[in-house]
Symmetry: C2
Subunit: 285 residues, 2 copies
């Protein structure tokens, strides 16, 4: 299958990310349908021209007609959905997702999936601290990464299709990682970062803090506004990788703490110099 | 003394923050001189109309003429400067500073200072991850706090003058804290935040990280580009307060880690809910 104007795309789960796919794909002229739990999301999307049609039911006709199905669901809901409804999928359909963890999802979906449909997992690394299709237009993709995590079960054609999808959606960089490499990186750059923000906001109850914070603190804690249902599920589904990153962090944090306790300026400066060099590498991209 | 167009202002140390004071005060029509180590900073400042005059020498005439002296020096350099050069200050002169720690500075300066001059400490909570007067124009004050930390040694008149200075400089909010309350808050919102960014950038050497980071991680680590000489000095000069905050953080981080290790979703969600509520309070200001 090639991505073309004839490709019938179905979004399952029209929240923030599902909505952002719908908006981008409709703009490019694709036909976009959706299945989602809430009628009000469908009403909003129809009124704003974000989808062509939508239903709150798992409609066999709609599913039997879709060439490309994008799942934008919580991890566990996604797994149950496949288990319960995969019989309605069109033979030859390509499935993809937006889930933020991969190892615990990809192999399980591929293991249970019918042999005549194919699932290529992807993680669009965009997002916001707000939710719902009403906020989808604000998802910024032009500096974001779109990571495809193929396995041996995937065909080169289907992987190429999903990479093409990432490009059509406007992501700055489309790349491939193994599910395991993805989960290690995400545990560090995204999940650990969210842990730090949450812990920072909860470790101290100084009063009137908001009167004295600078922009650094606000930047650091922006992601402390967090969807607890989604993130606790993502953490647990990537537990070993995240625990490993948390332990690396704890060790290095203790190193800085001990250096300070001992007035060891040299160790502190060495860490700060390394930090500065590494951070600079980010801005040179 | 009232702040007026006749007030002769002298900046000692024309770096990022000293330069930002000079720019704002010149714009308001004040006469601004400077003493700083580097001739190139003076040349730049003169060429760009940021100061009226400047010298690399501790010029007794210049000092004997200044009504308001702003010290924008590293903490230890500031202490030595006062010790060595205070004899040249004009009787009745008011001194202030921009130092990011207060308890370890304010009392020592006030204890050694001549009785006919007065030091009112202040912390302009603006800054950038770049340095030097060449970058001063980029210091954003319109959302920043200007905190004055008076002690019993201060007169209401001098405190009012320095608060007026903060307003003239354009800071969004001018407030008063004791040196101790200031240092506790700064240990948390600024120093701990910098610790986290430095540790995050140094705890893991995953390759090609910059290819996979999202905006959250970039926001979180922006301050990981850090001046190691200045910050290690600020950390040591606020050691006890910072160690306390680091320990609070470590305890809470361990709590989240253990919850994850035990699949304790409820504890994770409770922390995330609290984090969200607290972070929201910031945006409502």
């Amino acid at each position: 299958m090639e991505l073309s104007q004839n490709t019938k795309i179905l979004i399952v789960g029209l929240g923030l990310m599902g909505g952002s796919y719908a908006i981008a794909l409709k703009k490019k002229g694709y036909s976009v349908g959706c299945i989602t739990r809430s009628q009000s999301s469908i009403d909003y999307a129809l009124a704003n021209g974000i989808i062509d049609y939508g239903t709150t039911e798992v409609d066999p006709t709609l599913l039997g007609d879709a060439d490309l199905v994008v799942f934008s669901l919580y991890p566990r809901v996604f797994l149950s959905w496949i288990e319960e409804n995969q019989q309605y999928l069109k033979p030859g359909a390509i499935l993809t997702d937006v889930t933020g963890v991969k190892t615990s999802i990809v192999y399980r979906v591929q293991a249970m999936l019918r042999p005549d449909v194919e699932f290529v997992a992807a993680h669009p690394m965009a997002g916001r601290e707000v939710y719902g299709v009403e906020n989808s237009a604000g998802v910024k993709v032009d500096e974001a990464n779109f990571i495809v995590t193929p396995t041996k079960a995937n065909t080169p054609e289907a992987v190429a299709l999903i990479k093409r999808l990432g490009e059509e959606l406007g992501y700055a960089r489309v790349s491939e990682l193994t599910p395991e490499a993805h989960d290690e990186i995400v545990a560090f750059v995204s999940q650990l970062a969210h842990c730090l923000a949450v812990v920072l906001m909860t470790c101290n109850d100084l009063e009137h803090l908001e009167d004295y914070t600078g922009n650094s603190f606000r930047d650091l804690t922006r992601i402390a506004h967090i969807n607890e249902d989604m993130w606790s599920e993502l953490f647990v589904m990537n537990r070993e990788a995240l625990l490993h990153q948390m332990d690396l962090f704890t060790d290095q944090f203790a190193r800085l703490r001990d250096a300070l306790a001992q007035n060891d300026m040299e160790t502190m400066k060495t860490m700060m110099r390394l930090s500065t060099v590494r951070r600079d590498a980010f801005d040179k991209k």
